[in-house]
Amino acid sequence: MSSARKQGRARFAVQEERDGWLFAAPFVVGALAFVVFPLAYSVALVFLEWDLVRPPAFVGLANIRKLFQDPMVGTSLYNTAYYTFLGVPLHLLVALTLALALNARARGVSAYRTAFYLPSITPSVASAVIWLQILHPEFGMLNDAFEKLGISPQRWLFEPSLTKPAFILMSLWSIGPQMVIFLAGLQAVPEVLYEAAHADGASAWQRFRHVTLPLLTPTIFFNIVVGIIASFQVFTTSFMMTGGGPQNATLFMVLQIYYVAFSYSRFGYASAIAWILFLIVAGFTVLQFYIGRRWVYYETQL
């Protein structure tokens, strides 16, 4: 190979690299400016006191110490955990049941699929307004239905012991995405496996238990991971509907972060709570991946 040709190739490689960086630049600059820098800044804020007005002041571990003494953080953590660990399994169960029903080859099934998915694209603020009416203690549809069944009306959003269950019930309204993911998973199960099981005399339950469920475990795993992350970030409904009440029963962690930051102007302390939330979510996600190895079945791993 002549040296001129070598030089040409080297020049081309340099040009390739330069152009590559140039074309990646919008993303790289965007990610650095709007993801990496804010993340790093929020880590720094954990050790600072900043009210947006005065320059940030170094306070060492004071914000972290306060975390462990602040009862509101404990309350918000409990509320978030309650909402997550009751809500996510219920979501999975309902979404899977709906997906199984809508996986049937029935007439008009597409219309049903659309109908169940539709609430997911309703803006969360609009959903909140609708649910305020449904859960109205005196004129709400839910209490009307209860009265017809002979059950006394409930003060859904105004009784501390009922508010979180009401929020979980409400969250089922936007179950569409999980249902669609389950539906996709169900449709990916090879028909031949069902036929083989049927030929072996397996009942419908046995086919579900030993064919459908194992092949659906990656989908279930995905929905659990995504569901837990989303549940830990619940905000809009409580911000819109209850403001964290009654008696702090719906004070979730993100709402508490919002209040501490934007109402009390304690951005350092809010960052500390935010990072605790991040560590909890990350911890649960890692744990799920660890446990997932034992129960998630990937067809390709055979």
Binding site: L52, V53, H136, P246, Y259, S263, Y264
Partner: protein, 520 residues
């Protein structure tokens, strides 16, 4: 066959690369701060005017400033007012006010609370202002109500606060304590501008416009709470309309008579919460729930009179007498839905409830006949009144056109702006005189009521619930457990004597925590 690319042609890649670089350059250029408007003057001293000409006061309601005995220079916006140069024995001359013509051209940004009527009123007032001072261009922005203060804080953090903003009376203290607002005392003195602080409303307006002896905001409107009653339920039950001398016992008796549980009709509708109930709490035995409503350091809610008042107005009226819908039902129904549809007969509220009852925005097309009456007198004989200014105008220290901003806030608190605002917003102007001159005739004509003066008279004795100063009242209501305590009393009927002492401890701790870590 080999194809060589002519060197004089731009390759697709080179073209895209060049486009990218150009776009990035354009983007960066667009992000650069805009040059200051050439019309905006720097806060430099204003040129001295010939002293021979007497100055004309900008405020139409104020008498013209007296000409100084000796030539006086017009003070610079950031400079202290010029000292009178008269002989020591002579009475000091009144400071000279700037005439409209003396204000240099400027562009200012005004941020309005995003409530439609307020926006409409601001637009109309700004049009009038443009006629009076065409050299000052006002850019009106309005932000959604729910994110108003968050957006303001973000702008402050970004170093670009507006020149003037709307503010609730209790929301600017945090910024003033940190030097972000312009103290207005010198400008007030310079222009002899005291009309929006009438002596009879001193108790009401000082806490919401002053901090640590300095004035930081100009009142734009005020509010008071009175009892608004529908005539129909009274007529049907054969009960005489209440008069201003009625007592709490008479009020309770009327409410019990008007309440019809089977028909889900209630005699009364309580605006629940500390802001509305502070009047009852203080009227019972004259006790105050704070050592000071501005910069409180002591929570004093656990006093017998306060507990008794809360027991009646937060617990008993819901759970024992059942004369009002529960807070849950009221909250879920939405503001004005109960009284607007005749499900409740009476409400303790501000004049903003009028449009809900009658007119194009009423809850029912036919509207409802109503009138107003002063709050009933408790056994103490002291009127349980809440009043405040929930609309004030601070000027931000970052403003490069403070004089122009000052002219605008002055204009908004004077005639004719004070006459223009009430018919559009239903809000009460700042002075008693303007209330009787503009607001009372307007609401009496618009709504057919006869006793609108009740709202005006309450201004004289009313007091605001909590201003806080640098403390965000939201911090005390949430972290101090006020909301939680009210939930327990109103929602669950827990006795005030049990809930309040516990809350008071929590509140005191929140106050102590705040002041322990507070820095300016």
């Amino acid at each position: 066959m080999s194809q060589s690319r002519p060197h004089d042609r731009c390759s697709r890649r080179a073209f895209l690369g060049a486009s990218l670089v150009a776009s990035a350059g354009a983007l960066i250029a667009a992000c650069a701060p805009p040059p200051p408007p050439t019309a905006t003057p720097a806060p430099a001293p204003a040129p001295a005017r010939p002293a021979e000409k007497p100055t004309v006061a900008a405020a139409p309601t104020q008498p013209p400033a007296k000409p100084a005995e000796k030539p006086t220079a017009v003070p610079a916006p950031t400079q202290p007012p010029a000292k009178p140069t008269a002989a020591p024995t002579a009475k000091p001359a009144a400071p000279a006010a700037q005439s409209p013509a003396a204000i240099q051209p400027a562009q200012i940004r005004y941020v309005e609370w995003g409530w439609d009527p307020d926006i409409k009123a601001a637009q109309k007032i700004f049009a009038m202002f443009a006629e009076k001072m065409p050299q000052i261009k006002v850019k009106l922005e309005y932000w959604p109500m729910a994110q108003f203060y968050e957006k303001l804080k973000t702008e402050i953090a970004g170093g670009t606060p507006p020149d003037v903003s709307f503010s609730h009376g209790e929301q600017w203290g945090f910024h003033a304590a940190r030097g972000l607002l312009v103290p207005l005392d010198e400008m007030r003195k310079r222009d002899n501008f005291y009309a929006p602080w009438p002596e009879e409303l001193k108790t009401l307006l000082d806490p919401v416009t002053m901090l640590r002896g300095k004035v930081y905001a100009v009142p734009y409107f005020v509010f008071s709470l009175a009892y608004v009653y529908l005539k129909e339920p009274f007529d049907k039950a054969g009960i005489k309309y209440p008069t201003d001398d009625w007592t709490v016992d008479q009020w309770l008796d009327i409410c019990l008579k008007l309440t019809k549980p089977a028909e889900k009709l209630f005699g009364y509708e309580q605006r629940f919460g500390h802001w509305a109930e502070a009047g009852f709490m203080r009227a019972e035995r004259g006790e105050m729930e704070w050592d000071s409503i501005v910069e409180p350091r002591k929570a004093k809610w656990d006093q017998p009179g306060i507990i008794d008042a809360l027991q009646l107005h937060s617990v008993d009226i819901v759970h024992k007498h059942k004369i009002t819908p529960s807070p849950a039902a009221l909250s879920a129904a939405g503001y004005g839905a109960m009284i607007g549809t005749g499900k409740t007969a009476m409400i303790n509220d501000g004049s903003w409830v009028f449009p809900v009852l009658k007119g194009p925005d009423a809850k029912t097309p036919e509207g409802r006949e109503f009138d107003v009456v002063m709050p009933p007198l408790p056994r103490s004989g002291k009127r349980p009144s809440v009043a405040s200014s929930n609309g004030v105008h601070p000027i931000w220290a970052a403003s490069k056109a403070r004089d122009a901003a000052w002219e605008l806030v002055k204009f908004m608190s004077e005639e004719p702006a004070q006459a223009t605002m009430p018919p559009i917003t239903g809000r009460q102007p700042v002075t008693i005189e303007h209330n009787y001159k503009y607001w009372v005739p307007d609401v009496e004509k618009t709504y057919g009521i006869k006793n609108a003066k009740a709202f005006v008279e309450i201004l004289k004795t009313g007091a605001t619930h909590l201003v806080g100063g640098p403390i965000d009242p939201g911090y005390l209501t949430r972290e101090g457990g006020i909301t939680e305590a009210f939930d327990k009393m109103q929602g669950q009927g827990q006795p005030a004597a049990q809930v309040i002492p516990e809350m008071n401890k929590k509140l005191q701790k929140a106050l102590d925590d705040f002041w322990a870590t507070y820095k300016e």
